[in-house]
């Protein structure tokens, strides 16, 4: 498979996952903004902008920092490369460039999502309700993943799709947890209070994990346990640990089929091991925000290593006999 194809498939998957996670993050922010709190809209809506790396871009629009402006900017703005609209568009462009590598069902799913997204305006969002829109984005992403799992051969192309999804998700969960951190900063007096409780609950709900939390811990909502679930619990599908299990699994498969030693494989395995053998108390002792920052930084480096190893950035010679055997 061409490196350009691997690149397209990987980014197609990342962008779909990114759109879903943006919807999840907006959902949690919106829910939190409805909590009775003394906070200004500014302290409520700045964190999601910072986390998405969109604070500078938003500032340039000169719009007041209010919920509808931020939601419009992060969900629909065609001028914002990180908006849900642009992510879906980018996913579709990547799919279109490599149509021969994906199944008809995948193409139809991603294309019809884009066609619907393209028509979406802010008035529709208000009309259907923000939460329904976020649900729609999540549903389309679920559908795409389901179609991918259900129709794609378990070959190279599938591995790159899976890799893109898992790395993007690991990153998104780390960032989502960090929203909570940013949110808490302005009003430390709320820690442990009622508002705090609802904020953690909203966070869990946004990653479809409220019930998972109750089933796993049989306890009231405690920050350390929420963090444990979302960072370290391998049974929780959106946790960083579970995502890294997928990443290492995929990278090992690729390493075996290409019979090569890759720096990305080693990096991912080291990151995964750290997640497997660290306890949440240690993370809190180290500092949650600091841990997440390291994790996000590591994800970025891993992404660069993957591009270098598989997407042609390094131009290393393939083992010809292996290539033919796996072709």
């Amino acid at each position: 498979m061409l490196s350009r194809a691997a690149d397209n498939l990987y980014w197609m998957a990342r962008y779909i996952e990114r759109a879903e996670n943006m919807a999840r993050m907006l959902d949690v922010s919106y829910r939190m903004s409805l909590m009775p709190s003394s906070d200004e809209p500014r302290t409520q809506w700045e964190p999601p902008l910072i986390i998405a790396g969109c604070d500078d871009g938003f500032a340039k629009t000169d719009l007041p920092l209010e919920s509808h402006n931020v939601i419009n900017y992060l969900a629909l703005d065609a001028g914002n490369p990180s908006s849900i609209r642009r992510c879906i568009q980018a996913a579709r462009e990547n799919a279109r460039a490599m149509r021969s590598e994906i199944t008809t069902e995948m193409w139809e799913s991603i294309n019809s999502t884009w066609l619907e997204m393209r028509e979406m305006e802010y008035s529709h969002l208000v009309g259907m309700g923000y939460s329904d829109f976020f649900d729609w984005v999540k549903e389309r992403s679920h559908l795409f993943r389901g179609v991918t799992t259900g129709t794609m051969l378990r070959e190279e192309a599938f591995h790159f799709v899976r890799l893109g999804t898992a790395l993007e998700r690991a990153d998104a969960t780390a960032r989502l947890l960090d929203v909570k951190y940013h949110m808490l900063l302005p009003s430390p007096r709320d820690v442990g209070g009622l508002v705090d409780h609802y904020q953690w609950a909203a966070l869990l709900r946004s990653v479809s994990a409220l019930r998972a939390y109750r089933n796993t811990y049989r306890d009231s909502i405690k920050p350390a346990k929420v963090a444990d679930l979302l960072i370290l619990n391998p049974a929780m599908p959106r946790s960083i640990a579970a995502s890294f299990e997928e990443i290492t699994d995929t990278l090992f498969t690729l390493r075996d089929s290409y019979a090569r030693d890759y720096s990305s494989t080693r990096m991912a395995f080291a990151m995964h091991s750290r997640l497997r053998f660290t306890r949440i108390e240690e993370i809190f002792a180290f500092g949650l925000h600091e841990f997440l920052t390291e994790q996000i930084d590591g994800n970025l480096k891993l992404g660069i290593a993957i591009a270098r190893d598989f997407m042609g950035a390094a131009d290393q010679l393939a083992d010809q006999t292996q290539m033919q055997a796996s072709a």
Binding site: L2, R4, S100, L254, D315, L317, Q320, M323
Partner: protein, 473 residues
């Protein structure tokens, strides 16, 4: 207006159906117009779903459109085909011999059979190719020879298309769609299959791989990319042959070899079926502004460590002025008389020819020597006085850039149009493959001028396509 002056492929002058068209005529008699219309729309839907579109230049708005497909097949008898096939193989063999000669000893020039200036001063003559030896001494692997019919036993070659001929996907898809729409028709008629074309093409490409790797070469198809008008065909052929569809950016030259960038690392490439023009192949040798090609690829090619199909420099063989000398090439290289006719051609660089052409412009077809796709041509009998006058000015500015030919009475085939089934003018582009053997898959692309009386069949000018049947003997 199609009338008694034109050869009707289905009926003779007395209105009697010719034997080859027996099956089609019987079918046309029985099928109601409404049913035909329904099938036509069904065909259109199939084409749209398959994504078979064609980008058209110089038009505002929607540049992706379907080429009209006509559901009435065009039929050639086994005898007619055998004759065509012999003629095509002869012609392409001579052209390949000519290419090898002009890039080596230039015997044909020394023998005075073709003017030296016409070859050596031609922009299609690639000096870089002089002295380079190619596998099997073959320059052209894929030719799309345009043939028109004017009578019972009269076929003329219009153009040889030796560079990057396109249209073969229509030959394959038209058949595919016809078989889906009218399976009975194929059960009742003995139509030679065409679907093995991709396999034959792949065998041909492999057969000209550098000798050291010929037992198992890696073949790829090089496309200019998504925005090229024939991108669909590139993707289609790559898929059918099971080879990678690459762009220039996917290939890289390293240590004297060409590699493609795969997820598993760089992988050596041995044969490139390139669908980009010479000019864009290698920015270090040809157009320096080309972003479509691969820097350094020409050097690897010159060393014989990668094969390009078709070879660099085949354009000299399908130049519209060199065309005049193809019958001479057949005699010179093969010692045979040409089987297929050449259209009498006036090259305006000759003063006598220029004089004649200027006096007879309204009767002639005038083309740019380096033009293609029916752009920038004059069909005298179908042009207004003003159009003819304007064209005359263009010719006078640079006579050597034009050739003229008599307007040919293109044959007609029954075609389904708005008012029912009516005769429309057609041409034929069979695809000749040269490798270990020279072969022609029995069929080709039949293009049809959908407008009444029109003689311009180019898809860029609103022409349509038909399934082409070669009956088995």
């Amino acid at each position: 207006m199609a009338g008694p002056d034109f050869f009707d492929e289905m009926r003779d002058a007395k209105g009697v159906v010719r034997p080859a068209y027996g099956g089609v005529a019987a079918w046309l008699d029985k099928i109601p117009v409404k049913e035909m219309d329904r099938k036509r729309r069904e065909a259109e839907l199939l084409f749209r779903r398959l994504g078979i579109t064609f980008a058209v230049y110089n038009e505002g708005g929607d540049t992706e459109r379907l080429i009209p497909f006509d559901i009435v097949p065009r039929v050639l008898s086994a005898e007619e085909w055998a004759y065509l096939e012999r003629g095509l193989i002869q012609r392409v063999s001579a052209l390949n011999a000519f290419l090898h000669d002009v890039y080596h000893d230039q015997e044909i020039i020394k023998a005075g059979k073709i003017p030296e200036r016409l070859v050596l001063n031609n922009s299609q003559f690639r000096k870089e190719m002089v002295g380079i030896d190619l596998p099997r001494q073959l320059y052209n692997q894929i030719a799309g020879v345009d043939v028109v019919r004017t009578g019972e036993n009269e076929f003329f070659v219009l153009e040889d298309n030796m560079r990057v001929p396109s249209g073969v996907s229509y030959m394959l898809e038209d058949r595919e769609v016809m078989m889906r729409l009218f399976p009975d028709l194929f059960a009742r008629n003995r139509v030679a299959p065409v679907s093995h074309y991709p396999e034959t093409l792949l065998t041909t490409l492999r057969s000209v791989a550098p000798e050291a790797v010929r037992d198992d070469p890696t073949v790829v198809l090089l496309t200019p990319g998504f925005f090229n008008s024939a991108y669909f065909e590139h993707a289609f052929l790559a898929e059918q042959m099971g080879i990678e569809l690459v762009e220039g950016q996917d290939l890289v030259v390293r240590d004297g070899l060409v590699y493609m960038r795969t997820a598993g690392g760089l992988r050596r490439v041995d044969v490139i079926y390139r669908r980009i023009d010479d000019d864009f192949l290698d920015p270090q040798v040809f157009r320096p502004d080309s972003a479509l090609g691969v820097p350094g690829i020409f050097e690897v090619y010159a060393q014989g460590r990668v094969s390009l199909c078709n070879a660099v420099g085949t354009g000299i063989a399908d130049d519209k002025a060199v065309y005049m000398y193809v019958p001479e090439m057949v005699r010179f290289y093969l010692g045979e008389e040409p089987i297929l006719n050449n259209v009498p051609t006036y090259w305006m660089s000759n003063e006598d020819d220029l004089k004649y052409v200027l006096e007879h412009l309204p009767e002639l077809v005038v083309k740019e020597v380096h033009g293609s796709g029916g752009y920038g041509m004059l069909v005298g009998p179908q042009s207004s006085k003003a159009e003819v006058a304007a064209y005359r000015e263009r010719v006078l500015k640079d006579p050597g850039a034009f050739i003229a030919q008599p307007t040919l009475a293109l044959s007609t085939c029954p075609t389904f149009v708005a008012k029912g089934v009516a005769p429309r003018h057609v041409d034929l582009r069979p695809f000749v493959l040269s490798g270990e053997q020279v072969q022609v898959v029995p069929g080709g692309l039949t293009r049809v001028a959908m407008a009444e009386g029109s003689l311009v069949v180019n898809s860029s000018q609103g022409g349509g396509t038909k399934d082409t049947w070669v009956l088995r003997g």
